[in-house]
Symmetry: C2
Subunit: 180 residues, 2 copies
């Protein structure tokens, strides 16, 4: 089972402002040419499921359009999650431990999951369960917010795979995480 | 007068651990081929002076070899700074405000300064005095430390200039700061 992170951050490493808002990201997206998705759809075609935190789920619901098509989405939550009727075919929720969830999805024949959301990414990282991270840096400093990387017990060493600098200023780098 | 930042950070945006140590950076430098300096000497040849904080100065003194040759170095400090005898020809200290210092250096015929050190970079950034930043990202997450970018009053917008991904995993990006 491979677990990947695919995320945009500010230049100072935040995935959202402290209140969860991504106005700065939406604003920066106005720089992006029509039809350019920085590899998101290609990436989505490689994943069998998406695992995200409850807060992230609640936020993507506010976006209106559902960006994940028929891909199964598992929302990590200790409590019940209200899933809108039009999404019940693909969205479920789970309070499993990260490793238990990955084992279960693997037993269902899945090979590649996309892990999203600050808290969820952190919990998978802490368990050493993330294989690679693709970070798209937006050329803006927002000063504070929800950091992609939080305090860790030990340093995390990564191996650089690829970097793409887009004309419109986004810089996307993919790293493989060195397993301990 | 142009003011530039040229700095290495961890993937999570720290220039040093909380205690100022850069063991992680020195360790990562072992990946770098002999003779590769990621553009540092070329950059140094363009600058007329280096402005750094006192803590940074005290740290670079511990490195043994002085990396800045004959380039004038101004150490920002509210108090007197002890300058080793062999450096008194090029190193001085100042408690001037960032803008006053830049004006004075400009009146001496200088056109380009290199601003270094967490606190000093921040104070120049806050005053809108930095023109460009060159960030070399080391592929390691250290979890906490002295951040390159701190809390800001307003978002800082940047314009991407160039990105170089080195074979050994460092990714160097230069941004121009959009003036308000």
């Amino acid at each position: 089972m491979k677990a990947s992170v695919f995320v945009a951050t500010s230049l100072d490493g935040y995935i959202a402002r402290s209140d969860g808002s991504i106005d700065w990201l939406n604003e920066s997206n106005s720089l992006v040419p029509e039809g350019e998705d920085c590899g998101f759809n290609d990436f989505m075609e490689t994943v069998d499921a998406l695992i995200m935190g409850r807060k992230t789920f609640e936020q993507v619901l506010t976006f209106g359009d559902w960006a994940y098509g028929e891909t199964p989405v598992i929302v990590m939550s200790h409590n019940a999650v209200v899933i809108p009727k039009h999404l019940t075919a693909t969205v479920s929720y789970s309070s499993e431990l990260p490793s238990d969830l990955l084992n279960r999805l693997e037993s269902l024949g899945m090979n590649h999951v996309y892990v999203d959301g600050g808290t969820t990414i952190q919990s998978f990282l802490e368990e050493g369960l993330i294989d690679d991270v693709c970070i798209t840096r937006i050329p803006i400093v927002i000063g504070e917010g929800i950091a992609l990387f939080k305090k860790t017990d030990t340093d995390i060493h990564l191996i650089h795979l690829t970097t793409t600098a887009y004309d419109f200023g986004f810089v996307q780098t993919t790293y493989k995480i060195e397993k301990k």
